[in-house]
Symmetry: C2
């Protein structure tokens, strides 16, 4: 109960949010049912549902049909919050570091490879400095840990650069895939990371099994060769509620 500003559904949402923020409702706790809220706020069902929707889209609450609404846990699982060794040029494929970390923890990462030759998305084309019509080879994976999806990633190579290489095959490259680029005369010299937050599309929501209201971190790692030409982009889509990117600077 409170005399807040604005519309009824906002007042309901504000009240519930405050109860969550002050700890009156703890993570995992069940919220009052729709029926209860209808009674205590003298609101219609649609109105209390709209309030609950707001909290869901803020990432504070999740709903489960037949069970109820629950306060979401802040689950930055420790074994997902890995470190990126920014000096490691040899293993600049991010997932290699993760996989090594995961194996140390006794968990088995997996992921089926999908290789295709396509037009790149606009973002990727910009990063690889490709003109309209220039294609790419895309090597995509949904990565699973203990059969649960935890990240999606893809590596894009300009088609013209790798057209006769092993990278076209739908098989794992033993060791470092960047080695293939080196064999082709494009040894990596440096890379840039571009990090942004966005909402997942429905496909990603399904593939990563993220609840509504969960943004993803999109990390694009652009690799450049000796001539400073971008030769590949490694893209990772990471659920915001499971992952925290860590960069270490200036460590000896």
């Amino acid at each position: 109960m409170a005399r807040n500003e604005g519309s009824l559904y906002r007042r309901v949402a504000d009240d519930l949010r405050r109860k969550i923020e002050t700890g009156q409702l703890q993570p995992g706790n069940e919220l009052p049912s729709e029926r209860m809220l209808i009674g205590s706020y003298k609101a219609s069902r649609n109105t209390v549902r709209k309030a609950l929707d707001l909290l869901i889209n803020e990432g504070l609450v999740s709903s489960h049909q037949g069970k109820g609404y629950f306060v979401r846990q802040d689950n930055t699982l420790p074994y997902y919050g890995r470190r990126l060794e920014t000096k490691l040029m040899g293993s600049s494929e991010i997932y290699q570091v993760w996989e090594a970390d995961l194996r140390e923890l006794g968990r088995e990462p997996r992921g089926d490879l999908n290789v295709s030759s396509t037009e790149p998305p606009a973002d990727i084309a910009r990063m690889l400095r490709l003109d309209e019509g220039q294609g790419v080879i895309a090597r995509k994976r949904t990565r699973l840990v203990d059969d649960q999806p935890y990240a999606f990633d893809a590596t894009y190579y300009p088609y013209a650069l790798v057209e006769n290489s092993r990278l076209l095959g739908a098989v794992d490259i033993p060791g470092d895939p960047d080695e293939v680029l080196a064999e082709l005369g494009h040894k990596l010299k440096r890379y840039d990371d571009e990090v942004r937050a966005r909402m997942p599309n429905p496909e990603e929501e399904r593939a990563l099994r993220v609840p509504p209201g969960t943004p993803v971190t999109e990390l694009a790692r652009i690799g450049y060769d000796q001539a400073d030409t971008p030769v590949r982009v490694h893209l990772a889509v990471l659920p915001g509620d499971r992952l925290r990117l860590v960069y270490e600077h200036g460590r000896e």
Copy 2:
């Protein structure tokens, strides 16, 4: 029109989403009005509104009362997508780099300072390795460019470390605030960045004027002294639709 899976409102949303993704509806274009959609899908108003809500929460669409629904622009404005010179230990306060960049572009960054002594949020306490009850000095700012808010940031110092220093005053520290730490015998030696995506709370939505469905990137930069003790956390909250973090690795 299409025979998709699932509920009616999902089919409507899927259709509209496809039109956006294929470019049939371009960024900035107006979507069909609710009335039109009711007609073409033979759905009730609540149902088409639910479909439109979905697209809004995916960050694809925005609505404007009295005007209509519009396809959102992917506005990673170039002058916000700044570079982080990761080697610059002396000006590791991120905003200093940004402000210099902005001034180069002839834009005037501003931001009112707010200094307070409080209990730190759980995240900050973890990063500063503080026990229950140990306070911090928080120096917070909402940064404006040309009177438009574009980022929120705060720096947290353990109270015990800075209790008699200039950092307690609600005035700008000329030069580098980390210099004050150095004077106190805690010269910064290295720092870690922790990056995560999350949804803004209503306060941040208001302060940063982000439309619904826009996640933020939260960047925490933890500074350590010679004894490897964390001495300050600089936290930045960056609207995901305006900013792209760039890290450069291995550049000469």
